[in-house]
């Protein structure tokens, strides 16, 4: 059972466009993390959001944690080819046990 649903599964856009990736669950998390994974490599942590309603910005990336701490979104403004990768959300239930979503593959073409 996939507790964390990510949508869309695949996103292909042109350089300069905006995109949003969603991460939804029926469970409440103590926090939520977003990772980016490039081909042939392990995931790399981008951000952790802890408080319901929290918004964090990382350059052109904006992360939001839902008020009820069940969902999150990642918005990329003016996407660049370097943003290409697999974006994974992970809900934290307790220390060391993260529940990962299946991921959203983002492709940004020049």
């Amino acid at each position: 059972t996939q507790l964390l649903e990510q949508s869309p599964q695949f996103l292909s856009i042109q350089e300069g466009e905006n995109l949003t990736v969603y991460c939804n669950s029926s469970s409440v998390f103590s926090s939520l993390q977003w990772y980016r994974q490039e081909p042939g490599e392990g995931p790399v942590l981008l951000v952790t959001v802890v408080t319901g309603g929290e918004v964090k910005k990382l350059k052109r990336l904006t992360f939001q944690f839902g008020d009820a701490r069940k969902d999150s979104s990642l918005h990329i403004t003016a996407a660049q080819p370097g943003d290409t990768g697999l974006y994974l959300c992970a809900g934290v239930f307790s220390w060391g046990k993260l529940q990962f979503g299946a991921g959203t593959q983002v492709v940004v073409t020049p």
Binding site: E41, L88, W95
Partner: protein, 117 residues
């Protein structure tokens, strides 16, 4: 270089054979993890370890064995490989004993791509 390394990078084996995947970290992190990544399933936790000689099952432990005699090493063994164990395996480590507030950061290795024929 400091970090977390996995070996081998690629492995092809046959059904029924024993296979061991290696993981080594140089940070002296307390916590180490094994995940498998399959299309449509994301990353699923196989086993984890809070310290040397302390291990516990994750979400999908069946068919796998782990050990942790030293803090820096956390090998994963498939005792009798099956085709369903074809996957990409990731080892990760974390230095913080968190309180569940979500400030823990996992550092992942580059993965081992395992094919069981």
């Amino acid at each position: 270089d400091a970090g977390i390394t996995q070996s081998p990078r690629y492995k092809i084996t046959e059904t029924g054979r024993q296979v061991t995947l290696m993981c080594h970290q140089t940070w002296s992190h307390s916590y180490m993890f094994w995940y498998r990544q399959d299309l449509g399933h994301g990353l699923r936790l196989i086993y984890y370890s809070a310290a040397a000689d302390i291990t516990d099952k994750g979400e999908v432990p069946d068919g796998y064995v782990v050990s942790r005699s030293k803090t820096e090493n956390f090998p994963l063994t498939l005792e009798s490989a099956t085709r369903s164990q074809t996957s990409v395996y990731f080892c990760a480590s974390s230095g913080r004993q968190g309180t569940g507030t979500g400030v823990e950061k996992l550092f992942f290795g580059s993965g081992t791509q395992l094919s069981v024929l």
